[in-house]
Symmetry: C2
Subunit: 307 residues, 2 copies
């Protein structure tokens, strides 16, 4: 274990992401002191029982006071109010990063509220599971996953370097791009997939000729895969769609056009069109596996035991 | 190992499904002799190298001659031509089953071409992976998975019992329903999910503001899940959509209506509607896990090592 990067860090929001950060920081000694803030007393009690930090408070400013780094791990709709809450405790030496899945909106909400905007290094670790809450976190969550930093025009270069180092110590590979480009890329690689997954599970829930017990029973034909993303945190995802509206609507428009073309091919029996569409999609999966972002094991290596 | 259920069985089509059946029949001694037919010389050579059977031929009738059970494991569009091919070799003692993902069309194609229609017991084992070909199969594929039998009005009850026993010996739980109901249920639990997965991967492949390397790099945000279904066999899936057209178009229509409602909620910032939609989908996943059809492990228990 090397010298801690920071003496004290503050984690605001102790859900899946916040608690994973706390565990890794503790496990690898990335900071000496971990101050945890959350608006939920229940979440704080759970975090304390799990021994995730050294201090627990409902007041973000109390956690942020004296911290070298504040990590905001709240739904993106709460970014502005977190900035307001921590502002009084911030000095020109307090670095700020976050874990929001949308970046332009987070920057727009936080930047004008921070006394030292040069200290903000917005981040999005592209990592997660379908589970939520302090107990869902684990220290290896960021291992081998990308963390995208979207520095603003005001971001100080030394702040950027230190925050990048922090994410690397958590296990992430770090990439940098603009907030706007981030939001376009994630609209297709994350936001649209979640929307589609939520939607198909909802559609299945509504059918009257097919009972829910049949949907459950025969879900191994493909449907069950979608239920994982559709089990993600509703508040987090509501905020993502409200705060990345333009990019999501654009991606959705293209998706719907393409789907209409497939629908037409099915209606008119155009087998060649279907076959050629279905043939060009394997290469992307191969690329993802080769890039170390997916398992090569059939069926995700999933093991199901009799319930 | 108990007494073999059959002396000789014929497997027509030695892909993922056919080869999994062959391996399980061999491993558990379900039949003494396994005759394998496939239109592809290369697949037969691969099957022979893997030692999957006792005889290999491109002629389905040659494989079927003397068999107590013929299992057709071909894309559903080929069901009629397989029936034509095996017809001369069939006696009133030859049972016939299949693995097609669509059932009404398979019945319609096969029934009029069989000399003894009472021997046909259509089946759909709801099991598979994204991989194809003789080497993709494994003996445990059917373990803990449902196999749906859709006997016709002409199906002999003893034939039904024997074929049900065969699927149980392969590891399946057996369920019986009409072919029409099967096609409705599977349209939502399997066919629509595959169509959506193929479509979103295709849409991602077409974007010009986001490069394919970015889609691959940041796919862990959700997109990668869809690439598994979208890596499935194009010929098999082309045939599924062409042969279950009405039910798929109906399911797709409902999916698109629901998606339009979500799209509208995003455009108009209706957070409550989004939150309530996203909140009701967790229960279905819980039901699938409790029914023993899905793993409880976060992220499917997926393990990804650096590529």
């Amino acid at each position: 274990m090397s010298e801690p990067l920071f003496d004290r860090i503050a984690i605001v929001g102790i859900g899946l992401l916040g608690s994973s950060i706390a565990r890794k920081v503790r496990a690898d000694g990335v900071a000496r002191h971990i101050a945890i803030a959350d608006h939920s007393e229940a979440a704080l009690a759970e975090a304390e029982e799990l021994g995730l930090g050294d201090g627990y408070t409902t007041d973000p400013a109390e956690a942020a006071a004296g911290a070298a780094l504040v990590v905001s791990c709240v739904p993106v709709g709460a970014a502005g109010s977190i900035a307001d809450a921590i502002a009084p405790a911030l000095t020109s030496d307090t670095l700020i990063t976050d874990t929001g899945s949308v970046k332009a909106s987070v920057v727009k909400q936080m930047l004008p509220r921070l006394p030292h905007p040069e200290c903000l290094v917005p981040a999005h670790p592209v990592a997660g599971t379908e589970n939520s809450g302090p107990s869902a976190g684990f220290a290896d969550l960021f291992e081998n996953r990308w963390c995208i930093l979207t520095p603003t025009e005001q971001t100080d270069l030394r702040a950027l370097d230190q925050v990048a180092e922090f994410w690397r110590l958590l296990g992430s590979d770090v990439e940098t791009m603009t907030a706007e480009h981030h939001d376009l890329v994630l609209a297709i690689t994350s936001h649209l997939p979640h929307l589609i997954a939520y939607n198909i599970v909802g559609t299945a829930d509504d059918l009257e000729e097919v009972t829910q017990s049949e949907v459950i029973k025969f879900s191994a034909g493909g449907f069950r895969d979608f239920t994982r993303l559709a089990a993600s945190d509703p508040t987090m995802w509501r905020d993502v769609f409200l705060h990345n509206r333009e990019a999501v609507l654009e991606a959705l428009g293209r998706f719907s056009e393409d789907l209409a073309a497939l629908q037409r091919a099915i209606r008119w029996g155009e087998g060649d069109m279907l076959h050629s569409t279905f043939s060009r999609t394997r290469a992307i999966r191969r690329g993802i596996i080769d890039a170390g972002q997916e398992t090569d094991a059939p069926d995700f290596g999933r093991r199901v035991s009799k319930g």
